[in-house]
Amino acid sequence: MIISKQKPLSEILSALEGSARVFLIGCAKCATVCKAGGEEEIWQMQEALTAAGKEITGSIVIDEACHMLRSGRDLRSKKEMVEEADALLVLACGAGVQSVSSGTPKKTVAGLDTLFLGNIRRFGQFEQKCSLCGECILTETGGICPVTVCPKGLLNGPCGGMDNGHCETDPEAECVWYQIHERLQSRGAVEKLRRTVPPKDFSRMLKPGKLKIEK
């Protein structure tokens, strides 16, 4: 799940300056779960923008805004409303915004900040556990990712800031190496901690990422 959060209304309004007519676009997947760009948020945004003197030409919640073909098709189904607008306000992640912007020369305003790939702890509570590093080491680390959970991404054990098994950057949070140690110990696999892990291959996460599945 891509975790996103709505930008403050003041920021959205300032981005919409000079655009009197606005078409609203949401996403039915991640942005809906994050309560940032689903049906409900599109409705609230419509109210807020109307109150601020904007004219809303129409709106749509795309099933998966990151799906470029589907996004293009859905927008064509609302062609007239889109044409009428001075700007498209997209309440979807950065990928969703770019599905939209790639299909139209119109001014596209990003209404969300895209934060991370997140797990859902419970409704409305998200946590980053994977940083999409392209070189998964979870098998070696008891199924807990130090690349992501350690603020320094350390691969060979805790830093000097570990205090009673807690992280120097957040005393409330357990050090990920403490968690890994506990897990491996319970599994009788603590020997894994003796292995020196070589420098990470960051070329696996060079931007922009591309993948084409070969048949």
Binding site: G157, G160, G161, E168, T196, V197, P199
Partner: protein, 289 residues
Amino acid sequence: MLQQKLDSGGFAITAEVCPPKGSDCGEFLEKSRALQGCVDAINVTDNQGANMRISPLAAASLLTREGIEPIFQITCRDRNRLALQSDLLGAAALGIRNILALTGDHISFGDHQNAKPVFDLDSVQLLQTIAALSEGKDLSGNALQGKPSFYAGAAAAPEAEPFPLTLYKLEKKAAAGARFFQTQAVFDPEKLRFFSETVRPFNVKIIAGIFLLKSAGMARYVNRHIPGLKVPSPLIEELEGAADQLAKGTEIAGRLAAQARLHCDGVHIMAMGREDLIPEILKAVKREL
């Protein structure tokens, strides 16, 4: 020289002097010169606490020009593997041999909190890098012109819990080429004895961190805010009851340093801006020598 002192079984004394925030190194050099007679080497910190200061490579080089032996502290926080290797080679060319290889405090502690933290390598991998350079190869296996000579050390936290977890990493640091451990400040000689006995098999020299507590208030602050540092309450009470807390703190630091002499190969004094008191702290150690 630091390495010769340690290798020959001598008791090494190092101290920390923080390079300036700015390009005027006058005060830094003055403090360092004042210590020249009583320490074997001076640690030059690297954007300590993630607060931006002059490059430790430049500051260490200024010390070598003065005939003062520096320990160049280098962290992984602000440099990727190209920059780390390039600075290490630069250090070697400038006559700087002693390296303390550190992970580095997190960006969120410092004065540039919006900066991008690097951490391309960790401290174990940095030690491996130093070993590779010393063999005349860079991290990609390319041959270097000349083989730099380094004396590399690493940090250790004797009071960190759970200790077995930190021990794995210390063993890796030793295997990666650390020749000395400079410890986090320790206030309990018993902890230092235990630490020293535990890591003895790694065959690494131990330089004990000694921290000057300038007042009882500072001791309490350290306990609350500095991860891994634990000032025992009897020490805080001792400071509290003293008419002159700074003098008492100096006496305590001297006592801890003298006790460290029993278990370690050296002491590293962190005087927190009162470097002028280091000779006084060291009197207690020298009496033992």
